[in-house]
C-alpha cells in the first residue's frame, strides 16, 4: 500500500518540473488547492516514467527520516551542533542567521527528543511491569523464579567459585543435583553482579528486591536494544516505534513482570542485542562489532537455552544472503567470527560444554561456516582470474567439491544417526515435529507452556501487531537490504516456532514489534508527509516561496560549514566523521522535495488513515496495560478473588511453606508432585524428592507411581525414599483449578511410562477422567485421591468438589499409614506425615508378603535396597 502510493504519485509531480506547456502548468497550479484531482487523472502515465524514477522513490524510506528526526543520540553531543556556528563571520548574511540556527536547533532538538523518547520508553517498560508489585507485593513469582532466587541467594552468600561447585543435596533426594553444571548461569550472575554492585555502593537492597526488579530493568534494556536493531534496519523513526511497542508487548510482559525472575527476562534482551550487533556488523563490516557480537552471544548462551534460535537463525540469514547474491566481505566478517568465537565461548558455559559442537542444533552454523568460506574463496578467485579461466576453475572445483561434500554429509549423517535421539534433544525435536513430545515424552508434554498456542493466545499476546506484521514485511522489501532481509527471516521463523510451543511466543514478540514498528513508522511517514504538503497554508504557490526561502537559508549555513571545516583541527574531523553515519548532513532540499512530493496521498485519506492508525495504537496500549495489570501480574503464589464482600486473599501456599519451614526438622524430606519442588526448597527450605528441573524421568515416575498407588504401597515407596511429609495441593474447597487432582492423569501417565503396573485405563471410566461415584475403584483408592479428600465430606456434608463440580465418589474413609499434620486455611495445601512403621517384625513379614504378591520388580528393588 505504502509503495504503490508512492509510485502512483510520482508522475504529476514530475510534470511540474518537466517542460510542459505553460498553460498546462497553469492548469495544474490553479487546481492546486484540490490536488487530489490531477493526481487521479495522471494515474495512467505511471508506467511511462515509473522505471526511471523508481530508484529515487525506493531510496526514499531510508533517507527521508534523517532530516526529519535529525539523527540519533550521539549527535546531541556533537560539538558542531552543540556550538552554534559563528554567525559574525558573515555579517552580510546576518539576517539569515536566525533560520540557520533554527535548522541546527531543530536537528539538535530532534536528537534530544529521540533521546528523551527512548528514556521514557525505558521508564514505560520498567513501570508497566510494576503492576504486580503495586497490586500484590514485591515477591518472587511462580515456580522457576523461586529456583533462580534460591541460586542467587547461594551465589551472593557463598561466592562464584562455590556456585560453580555447588552440589545441591536438598533436591532430587537421594540423587542431588549439580547446580553449577546444570543451570544457565546468566540470570543468576546478572542479578548477583547487580547485588554486589549495589552493596559496594552501600545500598542495602536485599537479594529478593534485586531479583524482583531484574526483569523490569532488563525489559527497559531490551526495548533500547530493539531501538538499536530497528534503527539499523529502517532508521530512527521505526526504531523508536518498535521500542515503544516492545516496551509493552503483552507476550514479553508475561515473562518479565516484576518478580518474574526467570531466564527469559534477560535472555530476550540478550537475543535482541545479539541480533543488533550482528546487523551492525553486517552494515559496517567492523571486526569490533563482530567481537562484541560474539560476547553478546556468549551472554545469551549463559542466559537461556533459546540461544539455539540465534545460532540457527543467523546461519539461515547468511545462507539466504549468499543464495540471493548478497555476499559481501561484511557478511563474512559478521558471520565467521561469531561462529568461531561464539562456539568457543559457548563451550565455556558448563551447562552447554561440548554440546556446542556435538549436538545437531549447532550443525547448521558449521555447515554455513563451510559454505561461506567456499563462497568467499569463489569470490576471491573470481577477482583474480579472467572470466574464461574462472569458468574452467569453476567446473573443476564444483566437481571435486561435490564429491567432498557428499563424503562429509555422509559422515555427519552417520554420526548423527548413531546417537539415540539422533543428536537432537527432546525439546528441540518437538519444535520440528510438534507431535513428537506428546507421543514419546509425557514429561515434556505435561508442561503447559510446551503446548501449541491457540489463536486467541496470539491476539492476547501480540494483539494488533499480528495485523501489522504483514505491512512490516512489505515495508522491509522496499528496499530490501541485508538488514531488512534479516528482519523478514526472523519473523517468518519465529512465527513458525511460536506455533509449535506457546513458550516461544516470547521469541516472536520482538520480531513482531520490530516489523510492526517499521510498518507503523512508514505509514505515519507517508501520511504525515502527505498532510504536510497539502495543508492549505502550504499550497503550491507559497510552497515554492517557502522553498526559495529555505534554499536561501541553506546557503549561508553551508558556507559557514565550509568555512568552519577548513579551520577545524584534525581531531575534530576524526570525531565528526566517526559519527558520520549518525550526523545529519544537510541534504539538498530540492531533491528531497521532489521525492517527497512524489508520494503524496489524498489529503482527507491521509488524515483519516492517521486517525485510524492512532486509534489502532491506542487500542494496543489499552490492551497492553490491561494485560499487564490484570492478566499477567498475579504472582500465582498469592491468589485473590473479588466477591461481594470485597477482596479475598488466598495465601495458602506460603502458609504451608512457612509451616513446613518452621515446624519440621531441617532434614525432613517432603514429597510432592514436581511442580512444587522449587517452591518447597526455596520457601520452606526442605529437601524434596523431585522438582521442576525434570532431569530424571524415573524419579518423577516413582513419585507419580506413589501418588497413584493405594495407601500402603505408596507408604512403602515413600518410606524407601526416606520421605517424612507428603504435600498435596487441593482446590476442591475453594475452586482452585490447577490442583493435584487435575494434574493427576499426568502422574499416572508418567508413572506408568516407567512402572508398567500403573495403567492409565485403570483410572479412567470409559475413557473419562472422573472422581465421582462413577470413578473406578483404583482411582478412589489411590493415595492422591485419599490425601486430597481426607475428611472433605465433613465440611459441607456432601463433599461437593467445586473444581470438578461434582460430589466425590468415596466420602468416608480413614488413613492408616498417613496422618494429617497441617492443612491451610482454604485447604489448598494439605500436608500429611508418614506414620512410623508400627512393628518391625510385622512390617518385615508384610514386606515379604507384598514382595510375593503384587508389587513390581522396581518397587521391590526400592524396598529392598533402601539405602537410608
Amino acid at each position: 500500500m505504502n509503495q504503490r502510493g508512492k509510485i502512483s504519485s510520482q508522475t504529476p509531480q514530475l510534470q511540474l518540473h518537466s517542460p510542459a506547456p505553460y498553460h498546462s502548468l497553469v492548469f495544474s497550479i490553479s487546481k492546486s488547492h484540490s490536488q487530489t484531482r490531477p493526481l487521479r487523472f495522471s494515474q495512467p502515465p505511471l508506467t511511462l516514467s515509473g522505471s526511471q524514477t523508481l530508484p529515487a522513490a525506493v531510496a526514499l524510506p531510508r533517507l527521508s527520516p534523517s532530516p526529519r528526526l535529525a539523527s540519533t543520540l550521539g549527535f546531541t553531543l556533537n560539538p558542531r551542533v552543540a556550538s552554534p556556528p559563528a554567525p559574525f563571520s558573515w555579517p552580510s548574511m546576518a539576517a539569515s542567521d536566525a533560520p540557520n540556527g533554527d535548522v541546527l536547533i531543530r536537528n539538535a532538538f530532534g536528537s534530544v527528543l529521540a533521546f528523551l523518547i527512548l528514556l521514557l520508553i525505558g521508564v514505560l517498560a520498567f513501570s508497566i511491569r510494576l503492576f504486580s508489585v503495586i497490586k500484590y507485593e514485591s515477591v518472587i513469582h511462580e515456580f522457576d523464579p523461586y529456583f533462580n532466587y534460591r541460586v542467587t541467594q547461594f551465589l551472593t552468600k557463598n561466592g562464584i567459585y562455590d556456585f560453580w561447585n555447588w552440589f545441591d543435596d536438598r533436591t532430587w533426594y537421594p540423587l542431588g543435583r549439580v547446580i553449577g553444571g546444570t543451570v544457565y548461569p546468566g540470570l543468576t550472575l546478572t542479578a548477583g553482579t547487580l547485588y554486589w554492585f549495589l552493596h559496594s555502593l552501600n545500598i542495602p537492597l536485599s537479594v529478593e528486591t534485586v531479583c524482583v526488579f531484574t526483569a523490569p530493568i532488563f525489559s527497559a534494556f531490551a526495548s533500547w536494544a530493539t531501538f538499536l536493531l530497528t534503527k539499523e534496519v529502517k532508521g530512527v523513526g521505526a526504531g523508536l516505534t518498535a521500542a515503544a511497542l516492545l516496551a509493552m508487548v503483552p507476550s514479553y510482559i508475561s515473562r518479565s513482570v516484576a518478580g518474574s525472575y526467570d531466564n527469559e527476562a534477560v535472555a530476550i534482551f540478550a537475543l535482541i542485542f545479539t541480533f543488533y550487533l550482528y546487523i551492525k556488523t553486517l552494515n559496517t563490516g567492523s571486526l569490533f562489532y563482530a567481537t562484541l557480537n560474539s560476547l553478546s552471544y556468549f551472554y545469551m548462551v549463559c542466559s537461556w537455552g533459546g540461544y539455539t534460535f540465534i545460532i540457527n537463525l543467523i546461519p539461515m540469514h547468511v545462507l539466504l544472503c549468499i543464495v540471493t547474491g548478497r555476499y559481501s566481505s561484511r557478511l563474512y566478517i559478521a558471520y565467521a567470527p561469531l561462529v568461531v568465537l561464539g562456539t568457543l565461548l559457548a563451550a565455556l558455559v558448563p551447562v552447554v560444554g561440548f554440546n556446542a559442537v556435538m549436538t545437531s542444533e549447532h550443525f547448521a552454523s558449521f555447515l554455513v561456516f563451510i559454505i561461506i568460506h567456499v563462497v568467499a574463496l569463489v569470490y576471491y578467485i573470481k577477482g583474480i582470474l579472467s572470466p574464461k579461466m574462472f569458468k574452467v576453475a569453476l567446473a573443476l572445483v564444483v566437481s571435486i567439491g561435490l564429491a567432498v561434500c557428499c563424503a562429509m554429509v555422509a559422515v555427519i549423517i552417520a554420526l548423527v544417526a548413531s546417537s539415540p535421539t539422533k543428536g537432537w534433544s527432546g525439546r528441540s525435536l518437538s519444535l520440528l515435529d510438534p507431535t513428537y513430545a506428546s507421543k514419546y515424552i509425557p514429561i515434556i508434554a505435561s508442561v503447559s507452556e510446551h503446548q501449541p498456542p491457540t489463536w486467541p493466545s496470539y491476539f492476547m499476546d501480540i494483539n494488533v501487531l499480528a495485523f501489522l506484521i504483514p505491512a512490516g514485511i512489505i515495508a522491509c522489501f522496499s528496499p530490501l537490504s541485508d538488514a531488512s532481509l534479516f528482519a523478514v527471516l526472523y519473523i517468518v521463523l519465529s512465527v513458525y516456532f511460536s506455533g509449535v510451543m506457546v513458550r516461544l511466543m516470547l521469541v516472536l514478540a520482538p520480531a513482531a514489534c520490530i516489523l510492526s514498528g517499521i510498518a507503523l513508522s512508514q505509514a505515519f511517514d507517508v501520511f504525515t508527509r502527505s498532510i504536510k504538503f497539502q495543508l492549505p497554508s502550504l499550497s503550491d504557490h507559497s510552497h515554492i516561496d517557502a522553498r526559495d526561502a529555505s534554499s536561501e537559508n541553506i546557503v549561508p549555513d553551508d558556507t559557514i560549514k565550509t568555512d568552519k571545516s577548513e579551520d577545524t583541527p584534525k581531531e575534530r574531523m576524526t570525531k565528526r566523521s566517526k559519527k558520520k553515519e549518525k550526523e545529519p548532513v544537510e541534504k539538498p532540499p530540492t531533491k528531497f522535495q521532489i521525492k517527497k512530493r512524489l508520494s503524496v496521498l489524498p489529503f482527507e485519506a491521509s488524515i483519516i488513515a492517521v486517525i485510524l492508525l492512532v486509534l489502532l495504537v491506542a487500542f494496543y496500549v489499552v490492551h497492553c496495560v490491561w494485560a499487564a495489570a490484570e492478566a499477567y501480574s498475579a504472582p500465582s503464589i498469592v491468589l485473590t478473588s473479588h466477591s461481594n464482600d470485597g477482596l479475598h486473599v488466598f495465601d495458602d501456599f506460603r502458609e504451608a511453606y512457612a509451616w513446613l519451614s518452621h515446624n519440621t526438622d531441617v532434614d525432613d524430606k517432603v514429597a510432592s508432585w514436581w511442580d512444587y519442588g522449587y517452591q518447597t526448597t526455596a520457601m520452606a527450605n526442605r529437601t524434596v524428592i523431585v522438582d521442576n528441573n525434570t532431569w530424571n524421568n524415573t524419579h518423577i515416575a516413582t513419585v507419580g507411581t506413589a501418588m497413584s498407588s493405594p495407601e500402603k504401597a505408596a507408604w512403602e515407596i515413600f518410606h524407601s525414599l526416606d520421605v517424612k511429609y507428603v504435600l498435596v495441593v487441593f482446590g476442591g474447597l475453594v475452586g482452585y483449578p490447577s490442583d493435584d487432582i487435575n494434574k493427576f492423569l499426568w502422574m499416572v501417565r508418567i508413572g506408568g511410562g516407567v512402572f508398567p503396573h500403573i495403567k492409565e485405563p485403570d483410572y479412567l471410566r470409559d475413557g473419562q477422567y472422573r472422581i465421582d461415584s462413577m470413578a473406578t475403584p483404583t482411582m478412589l483408592n489411590c493415595l492422591m485421591y485419599k490425601l486430597s479428600y481426607y475428611r472433605f465430606v465433613e465440611t459441607d456434608g456432601k463433599a461437593f468438589d467445586r473444581v470438578r463440580r461434582t460430589e466425590i465418589g468415596k466420602k468416608y474413609f480413614k488413613l492408616t499409614h498417613f496422618e494429617e499434620v497441617f492443612t491451610t486455611h482454604h485447604w489448598m495445601v494439605r500436608i500429611y506425615k508418614l506414620k512410623p512403621p508400627k512393628n518391625r517384625i510385622r512390617g518385615k513379614n508384610k514386606k515379604s508378603k507384598s514382595k510375593t504378591s503384587s508389587t513390581t520388580t522396581s518397587k521391590r528393588k526400592g524396598t529392598r535396597r533402601n539405602p537410608f
Binding site: 506547456p21 552501600n202 545500598i203 570525531k575 492443612t823 491451610t824
Partner: protein
Amino acid sequence: MLRFALTLLLFTLAFGVLSSSPVFSDLILAKVDRRIDLTSQIVRITTSLKVENAGSNPISEILLSFPENQAKHLAYLTATLNEGKGKGKASSGAGLPTEVVIPKDVPDSLTFYSVSLHKGLGKGESLLLDVLAVFTHALEPFPEKISQADIQLLLFQDTAHFLSPYKVMVQSVAVKLPEARVESYTKLEGTKLSGSELKYSPFHNIPPFSYLPIIIHFENNQPFAVAEELVREIEISHWGNVQVTEHYNLFHGGAKNKGEFSRLDYQARPYVRGASAFRRLVARLPPRAHSVYYRDEIGNISTSSLWGDSKKTELEIEPRYPLFGGWRTAFTIGYGLPLRDFLFESDGKRFLNFSFGSPINELVIDTLIVKVVLPEGSKDISASVPFPVKQWQETKFSHLDLVGRPVVVLEKNNVVPEHNEHFQVYYKFNSLSMLREPLMLIFGFFFLFVACIVYMHADLSISKSSASYLAKVQWEEVQATVQQIHNIISHCLTAHDKLEASLRDLSRTGDVQACKATRKSVDSLLKGVSKDLKPLVTFLQSSPQAAHILPKVEELIAKERDLQERLMAKHTTVVDCYEKKLGGREIENRIASNQQKITSLRQEVDDLMEFIDEI
C-alpha cells in the same frame, strides 16, 4: 513430675540446713501480703512487706531471697516504698535500687537481692515495702504434650511461707487463677478456693528460711507467645524519621501439640478444638506510626489490621497459621515514626528517648537485642538504660555510607512487658553532615556527565602518527570536501529551481522585472559558488586518496556547468520572448531543444549527486 519431686527434695534439704542457721539480722517482717497472679503466662508476685527494725542499729538494706528455681526465671524485680496510708497502691517515688548480693553463710540454692533504702531504718521504726517480682517460664505445662482438642493444664509451684532471711509475724497468700477450673492444689490448713481465687490463710510466726511447698495444677488457655529472639532495630534519620524494624522469632511456649492438626476441627469449633492455640497478637505502637508493614522472609503476610487515634496505634497481627503448642513462626514488623516525638536535645547533645521492650502485649522475650542506628558521623555516644543490659557498639553500612553508622547494641535476656521503660541514647551530631549524601550524589552524577562530555570531545586514538591513522584522517578530509562540493552543487540546483520558478511566475503574471531581478540574484549567487568550488577541487586533485572519486566529481561539476549555461540561455530566451510579447507556442518552440537537454542533464546531475552522496 520427676523434676518437680527433685526440687522438692532439694528444698526440704535446704530448709533443714537453714533452720539451724543463725538469725540473719534484727529485722522482723511484721506483715507480709503476697498476691500471685497466674492469669497469663507471666507470673507476677506482688508482695507487700511491713518491715520493723527490732535491733538497735539502723539498717539501710533489706534482703529478699528467692529459691533457685524461681531465681532463674526471675525477669523483673522492683521494690517501692509505700508511704501512703491504707492499702491503696500509692507507691511513691521511683523503685529502690536492687542488686544481687551473696551474703556469707547462706546456701547456694538461694539467690539474694538487696534493696537499699534511701535512709536507714532506725530502731523500732517500720516501713511498708512493695515488691513486684515477675517470672517467665515459671508455669510448667502438665501434661507436656496434648492433642488439638485437649485443654492446656499448667503446674505452678511456690512456697506458702514467705521465704525470707527474716522472721515473719503474719503472712497470707492469694493466688489469682485465670479460670475457675483447677485440677488440683496443695491443701493446707485453712485453704480456700473461691471462684478463681485461691487463698492460703494467714500463717503466724514463721521462722526465717521456712519453706512450705505448694503446687497448683490449673487450666490456662491464654496465649503463651514467647519470642525466642527479638531484634529491634531503631534507625534514626535526621530527615525526620525513626524507622523501627522488629524481627520476631516466636513460638508457643505452652503444652506441645502431639502432631496431628485437623483444620476441619479447628475451623468448625476453634475455641474447643484449638483452645490452647493462639491466632492473633496485638501490638500497641506509638501514636503517628506510619508505613507499617508485617512480613516474613517469603513475603507479605496479609492477615493484619491497623487502627489508631492520637494516643496510640494498634496493630493486630495474625501469623500465617494458628500457633499450637511448640509451633514456631518468624516474622518482621516495621514502622516509621516522626522524629520529633522521640529525639530531643539537651546540653548540645541529642538524645533518643525510646521504649525498650516489644510493643506486643503480654509477650515473653527470651533474648532481646535493641540496636540503635545513629546517623553517620555521630560522636560521643552513650546509652542509659534503667536496668542492667549488655552493651556494645557496632558499625552498619547503609545507603551510600563511607565510614558506616555507629550502632549501639543493647542486649537483655528474659524481658517482660514491665521492661517497656524508656531508655536514652545520647550522641553529638552536626546537622551539616545530613547534606553529605545528597551532595555526594549530585557530584557523582555531575562527574559522570563531565566524564561523558570529556570522552565525547577527546580523541582517544592511541597512535597519532601511524600510517592507517593518517590515511583515515586524509580520507575523512576527502569525505568532508566531497560533502562540501555536494552541498554547493545542491545549492546551485536550488538556484536553478528558483530560476524555473521565476519563469513559471512570469508565465502567470507576466512580471518581467521580477523575473529579471531573480535572475540577477541567482547570477551573483552562482558566481560566488563557483569561486568556492575551485579550492575544493584543487584539494581533491592533490589528495591521493581522492583519485577514484575525482573523475566523478569533475564530471558532476562539468555537467552542472553545462546545465547552468543552458538554463541561463533558456531563461534569457523566455524573458526575451516575453519582452517581445510572443505567444506561448512560439516560446515553447524556441526553448524546446534546450529544454530536453536540460531535463536529461538534470537527471544525470541528480544521479551523480546521489552517487557522491553515497561516499
